[in-house]
Symmetry: C2
Subunit: 329 residues, 2 copies
């Protein structure tokens, strides 16, 4: 994180202060992820305000100056002029500050976060390695929730602080829902596993589908072709929506356009879903050192679904960071 760049961006946006409350943004700027309501104020410098309870932990981990949070009024004394805020700020907080300050939504921090530093890429790589190792040690027998329990156990044992999201193990008919709720049913075919690790607060996000039989193989191969073509399309300067278009076109060609019911991918970092989105209406242009998922899928209602997802670092081409085989059974 380069504070000068952020202060330059504040200048360009004619902002005199930034008031941040989103934990991931606080994490990005301070190196510390608060466990209770905390704020960062940036004027000429950045200061973290956190609760008494988090002070000891924060003082061990924050890279920026630290003050114990007392009250909104105290915070206001440290704000000045036109104040940039995050779009996720809860309206109740917004109302407390809007009395006295001109507040303006800005994406300065999210924009900074979109380009990953070498250290950030290292953390994401490590989160991917943990996720892959954890899957490869699994035996695919038992119930959906048992497989998920084993996978999350492996993740934590291998150094993941927590699952990057609620692990999906969706088998048989369940696999026809992209975000299926985990069941206590015995595994049927196919099995969609969508899982990720968190390392130093950075996420990985992968999906694999274990298939059986001709019909599933046919769908698998279409999804795989869509994914590989989309990955091939990745390079700096192209529209994020183009990557979505490439994946979608392959699936449409085979007549399954209506069965690809989500976007092709999303940025990955301190959040498991962050900018840039790879979607039809995305207005992002890909740049070097972005990290994105590419995860097309086909979902046939009441039958089954297939999804394949990898994590890609944008360099001169798209560099696939995940190395686990596409067919793992």
């Amino acid at each position: 994180m380069d504070l000068n760049k952020i202060i330059d961006a504040m200048d360009s946006a004619e902002l005199d202060s930034l008031l941040l409350i989103k934990p991931e943004n606080i994490n990005y700027l301070s190196g510390y992820r608060p466990t209770s309501m905390s704020f960062i104020i940036i004027t000429e410098d950045a200061t973290l305000y956190t609760s008494k309870m988090d002070m000891e932990d924060a003082s061990n981990n924050s890279k920026i100056s630290l003050v114990e949070y007392e009250s909104i009024d105290k915070l206001k004394e440290n704000l000045k002029g036109k104040v940039g805020i995050e779009k996720s700020m809860p309206v109740s907080v917004y109302e407390k500050f809007s009395d006295g300050f001109e507040l303006k939504i800005t994406d300065i921090i999210e924009s900074a976060r979109i380009i990953k530093s070498p250290d950030e890429v290292k953390n994401i790589r490590k989160a991917i390695t943990i996720a892959e190792k954890s899957l490869l040690a699994l035996e695919f027998q038992g119930k959906e929730n048992e497989i998920a329990a084993h996978l999350e156990f492996n993740l934590k044992s291998n150094g993941s602080t927590k699952p990057a999201f609620n692990t999906i193990v969706a088998s048989g008919k369940n696999s026809s829902m992209p975000h299926a709720t985990i069941s206590t049913s015995n595994l049927e075919s196919p099995v969609v596993i969508d899982w990720g690790a968190v390392y130093n607060n950075y996420c990985s996000d992968l999906s694999r589908t274990l298939i059986e039989g001709e019909k599933q193989a046919e769908i698998f191969n279409i999804v795989l072709e869509a994914q590989l073509e989309a990955i091939k399309a990745i390079k700096p300067g192209i529209k994020a929506s183009h990557v979505d278009d490439v994946a979608r076109s392959v699936i449409e060609e085979y007549g399954y356009g209506d069965n690809f019911i989500h976007s092709t991918g999303h940025g990955l970092g301190l959040e498991v879903h962050e900018n840039p989105t790879l979607a039809k209406k995305s207005e992002f242009i890909l740049e070097k050192d972005m990290v994105v998922t590419v995860e097309p899928g086909i979902y046939i209602k009441d039958q089954f679904g297939v999804r394949i997802e990898d994590d890609i670092l944008v360099k001169n081409r798209g560099k696939v960071l995940s190395s686990i085989k596409k067919s793992i059974n």
Copy 2:
């Protein structure tokens, strides 16, 4: 959930519609927890708007009528008059609706959620049972993250969809931080475990501390006395702040007032932290069928900490829902 009561509350607050976006509130009203941005609009009736991706799952689980989400503009067509919104609504969403409607923060849904129905209590009880069973099956050896991995594995195997929060296993010096980050150090003494299960989206939240030696036992007994006195103080009609005061007074008497650096407890339900807070400045009055945690702690910097936490249902007295012994080793 009783929709008529909510519509009555809207009447009293002179609101013509409610616009809800918070997943827990959507869950409360519809029985379905969306995995993507969704809304509920209540006017004479309640309607859930969710994404294409979630439609199949929602149609299987929603108790209220369901429409595929298309756009903010389409939602606006279904709003009318003065619109109640949640205090957690992101300001970016707020701005999209404030153009055209008079928006007013309301806690109608949170207020309804504070009193638990018999079914809700059943879910919380089940989440507590799962949590207790999962802890009792643990062996306390190895590293902090290994214990946590085993505990979360047990939770999931026993039917918890996910941990209610990132499980805390904080041992030795780490235990002096209430929300310590988990380490890969071997267990030392004491060991604070703070963990919870999720069953049907309802949470449990418990803490136990494994102690060793006289000094730790002394602190343990003070915390235990504070907790038992606080639980004894619980009954309908008293101030939530009084419960905090009772626990705090015991700890202060022994000279450890400055080492109790958080509030005494909080409500528990679809969220692991919800109303009513049991804190110095809490303005809640306890009522029958609230569920709260009581969790005093003493944290001695650079040495160790002790916390004991149970979940209490407010009836004529406080009814302790958790049954696991206070000393488990």
